[in-house]
């Protein structure tokens, strides 16, 4: 076997992809050619370490971030949103119960805005929004950008309380609207409390 040809067959030889006859010819050449033996050895070493590389692990919360991006990209139309909501109804109920307990137990009215696919409970100065995880995360980011005070609802890392001064409500709404998430909150703020603060409690409605 010619030296050049032998060199091109080394990968196939390592992978066991040569027929018997060809493998035997190559082995005869290897017996006589130290250069080819050196190359074979280095390829074997290389493939050994490369193939032993551990698989890559996806970053934490990757799935959640993809989902948020998908929502922001408007991937799921109203029909699919309705479908999703029906499937997660028991979870919505559970979160709403938690929300009621955590929000000082003062919720008076439950308003379901069908076209927005969200659940809103409100009273004077307080608005409770049940949002999809992606929306919740985005709302949190927007509020942070506006310098609003955000605190996690007690004992629940997926629920937020955002304190929105009356005069900042419009900013928050506009920022969300500019990213096509105006379905998250109503366009008009509830009446603020006596200190002029709207307590926006956002609950995660489902985590998939």
């Amino acid at each position: 076997m010619e030296h050049e040809k032998a060199q091109t067959l080394l990968s196939d030889y390592i992978e066991g992809d040569l027929d018997k006859e060809m493998a035997s010819e190559l082995e005869s050449h290897l017996d006589q050619c130290s250069e080819c033996r050196t190359v074979l050895e280095s390829l074997q070493k290389l493939m050994g370490v490369v193939r032993a590389m551990p698989p890559v692990r996806v970053p934490e919360n990757f799935a959640r971030r993809v989902r948020r991006r998908a929502y922001r990209a408007g991937l799921f139309g109203p029909a699919s949103a309705r479908s999703s909501r029906r499937m997660t109804a028991p979870f919505v109920g559970m979160w709403a119960t938690w929300g009621l307990m955590l929000a000082i137990g003062l919720v008076l009215v439950i308003v379901f805005i069908a076209q927005h696919q969200i659940e809103i409970l409100s009273e004077r100065g307080q608005l409770i929004v049940s949002a999809q995880p992606a929306e919740l995360e985005y709302l949190q980011g927007s509020a942070r950008e506006l310098g609003l005070k955000i605190s996690p609802a007690r004992g629940d890392q997926d629920a937020l309380i955002i304190l929105v001064p009356k005069d900042r409500w419009k900013d928050l709404y506009e920022q969300l609207k500019s990213h096509s998430v105006d379905k998250l909150i109503p366009s008009t703020a509830p009446e603020p409390d006596q200190k002029g603060i709207i307590h926006l409690l956002v609950l995660e409605s489902s985590d998939g």
Partner: protein, 215 residues
């Protein structure tokens, strides 16, 4: 119950494969645009999609951005999937194309903005520099290095290969795909894949030589 489909590729005979019932149901739900199906799709394929992106791009932020894009593209184009290949292979093909497009884009941008060479090289899409950043980190590059350090070295050296070499090393030696799958993903003939992969390995072996030699 399984469905059988047949792939059509000019460079290979028809390949029969089976679609599991789960995959059939997942495809149907994806075609209905169900968010839950999207989440399931991500769960099933996230490791391999992200892994391929990371191996190709050598940057975690680029890899994550790309992987997200891939899933959105897959969801949007699911109607174009004709079951002529495995769903995973089709997703891989989209991932590979996204990676190559991004590399091209970054190269163009680097050319326009004159990104420093070391940055470009670390990203795996720039010109080669004479100083090896890995060698400068390893105190005794003539010694066999191990563990995590070795992983980093391999990753950096793979990133320094040309794209057409890199993708084959990644698909075959890191992702352990069969030649048939690589044919479907890259559209290359089997002979081309084998000869190119061999050249890629030879190139990589040369770059890795200082770290693989025995004490």
């Amino acid at each position: 119950m399984c469905l059988t489909a047949y792939g059509f590729e000019s460079y290979s005979p028809r390949v029969a494969y089976e679609i599991s019932r789960d995959e059939t149901e997942l495809l149907a739900a994806l075609r209905r645009g169900e968010p839950k199906a999207f989440e399931q799709l991500v769960k099933i394929h996230q490791d391999r999609v992200y892994g391929l992106c990371l191996r190709m791009m050598s940057s975690r932020s680029e890899a994550e951005d790309l992987a997200q894009e891939v899933f959105i593209t897959v969801f949007k184009s699911i109607d174009k999937f004709r079951s002529e290949s495995r769903l995973s292979t089709w997703i891989y093909r989209i991932t590979r194309n996204h990676c190559l497009n991004r590399i091209k884009f970054l190269k163009r941008r680097a050319a326009g903005k004159k990104i420093p060479l070391d940055t470009a090289k670390n990203m795996g899409w720039g010109a080669q520099t004479t100083v090896d950043p890995v060698a400068s980190r390893v105190q005794r590059p003539d010694r066999l290095v191990e563990g995590r350090q070795m992983e980093e070295i391999i990753q950096e050296q793979i990133a320094s290969l040309s794209e057409d070499h890199r993708e084959l090393v990644v698909l075959r030696d890191l992702e352990h795909l069969s030649y048939e799958e690589i044919q479907e993903i890259t559209g290359l003939a089997r002979g081309t894949i084998k000869s190119r992969l061999h050249r890629a390995r030879m190139d990589l072996a040369k770059r890795m030589a200082p770290y693989l030699s025995e004490e």
